[in-house]
């Protein structure tokens, strides 16, 4: 590679970085060293302080204590603009591109010195010259909305390079990519770092990516640096142990195998559209038996959220039927009660709880219109409601100051536990689950997965839509891969492998 790396990769080091929010110590005395020209992985559970650390580095937060060295020299970054000037950049998990603009337009407008009147001919020529020096390229004239997730991610990274950032933080860069896309992208980035053009600090959860691509790793737990080093010298077990610590986790429920279980949930030729009215789910057929978990895998944005919304009553079906025990089902309240249909969705504050209502009220969403909470055909008694909430809080170990606390004040894991308590404490025949562990801490994840398996073992038909393939491989009996709103693969776990699944996720049959 010739002049591509006209700028040189820079090294960044934090020394005793500490960040305190009120009484919460989010980051405590973290010193990590990212050497120039390396791909450095930052591992940690949710809430371990990874994003606090990088936000301190990028000038979004001012650290309470501690300092930063850039190429060995002390540097104070007071705001994101100073980070830019120091050639530090960050790629967020969610895209920050303007969908209606083309790649070229996105790049040019992101420049701090973007002129008021743009000479497009000249800019495009300059961009093409720039692209020619890059290991990967993106079509410049296509509106970003028309790019695939992988291309968007590439464009985000190209943007950083175009802006001449030489130290780039990537926040879970592969979460929206197919395994093939992820491998391609990380391989290319690895090449750039080893040529000394760039330094990368990558926040991730995926050990596979760390072992395959990272040079070094730093691991945070509860705001502290707990270990790290050269990737070649650590096993994934070491990393997992450091990341998770010795938190006590409930035993995984034993799996009860059954045969000839009846079909409970049947989806027959479902069609649904997205918010723009474009087809999102097309002729989706699926049967879920009693005592079975069927995992629906796929890269996000391939119709999974529309499918879940249609099943849980948040979106109208265009066509098709939902059958439970052979009878037609519509997601309205009395039928949900009659057929014992429960759901557990990602981001509970968005999907399954009213954020400003109390924990007790949120826990009563399924039962508020039935005795003992309701009487005289519509009169509501807060006493039994609170009593029920206390019981559930105890049984499902929800950490809350009281039953009257607005549920939005709870941590993410506890909100999901409260929802789980509400949905699973009664009889469950059909359970519809979508990314239930998204963004939760390790202990909550283990707990929720155990509960799902328990429901399965009790005979519930569980439909689990998840973007986390490992979750599906761990929990499901059967896997279905969705791509472009259709099923592209259907197999029993154990009768397929990651390669086949990856191909199906990318749309292959």
């Amino acid at each position: 590679m010739s002049e591509a790396g006209a700028g040189r990769a820079i090294g960044v080091e934090t020394v005793g970085m500490t960040k305190i929010f009120g009484s919460l110590v989010a980051l405590e005395d973290v010193s990590i060293r990212v050497r120039p020209g390396t791909l450095h992985a930052l591992l940690g559970e949710n809430g371990a302080g990874k994003s606090t650390l990088v936000k301190c580095m990028m000038g979004f937060y001012q650290p309470t204590r501690g300092e930063m060295l850039i190429d060995g020299r002390e540097a104070a970054i007071h705001n994101p603009r100073e980070a830019t000037e120091a050639k530090l950049g960050m790629v967020y998990q969610h895209f920050t591109l303007v969908p209606s603009l083309t790649a070229a337009e996105n790049l040019v407008v992101s420049r701090p010195d973007c002129p008021a009147v743009v000479d497009w001919k000249r800019e495009i020529a300059a961009l093409e010259a720039f692209m020619a020096t890059m290991p990967f390229r993106v079509r410049l004239d296509t509106p970003v909305a028309g790019l695939s997730a992988g291309e968007k991610q590439k464009l985000e990274i190209l943007k950083q390079l175009y802006l001449d950032r030489r130290f780039v933080v990537l926040d879970e860069p592969t979460s929206v990519l197919t395994p093939d896309e992820a491998d391609e992208m990380l391989g290319l980035l690895k090449g750039m770092t080893s040529r000394g053009e760039l330094t990368i600090l990558m926040i991730t959860h995926k050990f596979r990516e760390v072992t395959a691509y990272a040079d070094e790793v730093s691991i945070l737990r509860r705001g502290r640096y707990v270990g790290g080093g050269l990737v070649g010298e650590m096993s994934t077990d070491d990393m997992a142990r450091l990341m998770i610590g010795d938190a006590e986790i409930r035993e995984r429920a034993a799996r009860v195998e059954r045969s000839d279980a009846p079909v409970v949930l049947e989806l027959a030729a479902l069609f649904a559209s997205d918010d723009e009215g474009l087809p999102a789910v097309s002729s989706f057929d699926l049967k879920v038996h009693a005592g079975e978990i069927v995992g629906v895998a796929g890269v996000s944005g391939n119709g999974q959220s529309e499918l879940i919304e249609a099943l849980s009553g948040q979106r109208d079906l265009d066509d098709g039927r939902i059958l439970i025990h052979g009878q037609g089902f519509e997601p309205v309240r009395d039928q949900m009660d009659r057929f014992k249909v429960c759901s557990l969705q990602e981001e509970p504050l968005r999907n399954s709880a009213a954020p400003r209502m109390s924990v007790a009220e949120n826990m009563a969403l399924r039962t508020f219109d039935k005795p003992p909470i309701a009487s005289l055909g519509g009169w509501l008694s807060p006493g039994p409601m609170r009593a029920k909430a206390r019981e559930l809080i105890e049984r499902y170990r929800v950490k809350t100051p009281s039953t009257e606390t607005p549920i939005e004040n709870l941590s993410g894991g506890n909100v999901q536990r409260a929802v789980l308590a509400r949905e699973l404490s009664g009889d469950v025949d059909v359970l519809i689950v979508a990314n239930p562990c998204f963004g939760l801490d390790f202990a909550s994840v283990a707990e929720i997965r155990t509960q799902l398996l328990e429901q399965r073992n009790r005979g519930a038909a569980v439909l689990l839509v998840s973007e986390d393939l490992d979750e599906i491989l761990e929990l499901a009996d059967r896997i279905v891969v969705m791509s472009g709103g259709r099923i592209t693969l259907q197999a029993r776990i154990g009768e397929t492998d990651r390669t086949a699944i990856g191909h199906a996720m990318a749309g292959g049959h």
Binding site: S312, R333, F368
Partner: protein
């Protein structure tokens, strides 16, 4: 973290932590709006100073015209009654996340309906039949009026704010058409009106005051609205819908039907305001029904944070502002609209103060402790 150790206890045993949080929430709900009104008053003082007028005089006159004497109290309370009803017309849908601002239209249509149903039967049927008939007609007309807005929202996703506002103009057109045309009474040559009601159909005064019963009915309806929202399954479902419509749908709640029902209830309250304006104040239906109560009611509801129990006291405050307008105009040579400037400022700052909830430093720290 007391809850972890708390054992499930029966019934209504009070949990001190829960009580503390309720108290802090209540304190917050008082501090923020009071602060907002104070800030609005301060800004308004600056406005007065730029006009070369004395803020001190203004607020003194405001006090005298609204609350200083028994007479001004009466003036205030007469204006309070319709404000309670029209504020409820905003507050009930607001709990479902709907912003209905066309209460004025429901008031006009309600008042008109009350006057119209009385026309053929007054003098024929006894007052104890006609009065309830008028009341029900007003409530029903208002319910249909705003209920239609909710229905449009439900089946066609028409924005309820715009729809209800535009419906107000339709209401005015209907009123004007009939009052100036087919139903115009020859008895009133100066101002087009319907035939005056029989004196026997007029709503009387609360004993000892020159204020009609509408005030009492308003307070009762506000209390009923509070009970409906906080202590019934309908209110609970409505609050879930307003709190997170996706969660409400996922629970299979009939979101659309709830919206229509809440809008209809809201419209009924505004319609009743129209009834009292016709049967207690005007004695007939005419353009005086369009007095802006519906719009001031929006302010009242926002300042009361859409809490039905807070609406009557806030309505008294705004009733006082309206009552003092005339005095201020005469004494200070300020245009009548200057009181509206103050109202506008209060509204603006109330809207801004919405973002402060949950961020009052000392209260938040206490809650999260």
């Amino acid at each position: 973290m007391t809850a972890e150790s708390a054992t499930p206890v029966r019934g209504r045993t009070s949990d001190p932590e829960a009580a503390r949080i309720r108290l802090l929430t209540a304190i917050e709900a008082v501090i923020v709006p009071v602060g907002a009104v104070a800030l609005a008053a301060a800004l308004f003082s600056v406005f007065l100073l730029t006009l070369g007028k004395s803020p001190a005089t203004f607020f003194e006159l405001l006090w005298r015209g609204g609350f200083g004497t028994a007479f001004s109290w009466q003036n205030t309370l007469i204006r309070t009654a319709p404000l309670i009803f029209t504020a409820l017309c905003v507050a009930i849908p607001a709990r479902l996340g709907l912003m209905v601002i066309g209460g004025e239209g429901a008031l006009v249509i309600g008042g008109f309906a009350a006057a119209v149903v009385a026309l053929p039967v007054m003098g024929v049927l006894p007052a104890w039949i006609v009065t309830p008939l008028m009341f029900v007609a007003a409530a029903l007309a208002g319910a249909v009026w705003i209920g239609f807005v909710g229905w449009l929202r439900h089946v066609r996703a028409v924005n309820e704010t715009i729809a209800s506002l535009l419906m107000f103009y339709i209401a005015v057109a209907i009123l004007n058409f009939f009052v100036e045309g087919p139903l115009r009474s020859p008895a009133d040559p100066n101002k087009p009106s319907t035939t005056p009601l029989d004196p026997g159909l007029m709503v009387g005064s609360i004993p000892g005051m020159d204020v009609h019963w509408g005030l009492v009915v308003g307070v009762v309806v506000a209390i009923l609205a509070h009970l409906l929202m906080s202590r019934t399954t309908f209110g609970f479902a409505a609050r879930v819908t307003g709190g997170n419509v996706r969660a409400a749908r996922a629970q299979g709640l009939p979101v659309g039907r709830l919206m229509v029902a809440a809008c209809a209830l809201a419209g009924a309250t505004a319609g009743v305001a129209g009834y009292f304006e016709v049967a207690a104040v005007l004695g007939k239906a005419n353009a005086s029904l369009i007095a802006g109560y519906g719009f001031t009611g929006i302010l009242v509801s926002f300042l009361a944070r859409h809490n039905p129990l807070a609406i009557p006291p806030v309505a008294v405050l705004f009733g006082g502002l309206a009552a003092a307008g005339g005095l201020i105009q005469r004494r200070m040579g300020l245009p009548d609209a200057s009181v509206q400037v103050l109202q506008g400022l209060i509204f603006l700052i109330i809207l801004v103060s919405e973002t402060i909830y949950g961020r009052v430093p000392f209260l938040t720290a206490e809650k999260r402790r």
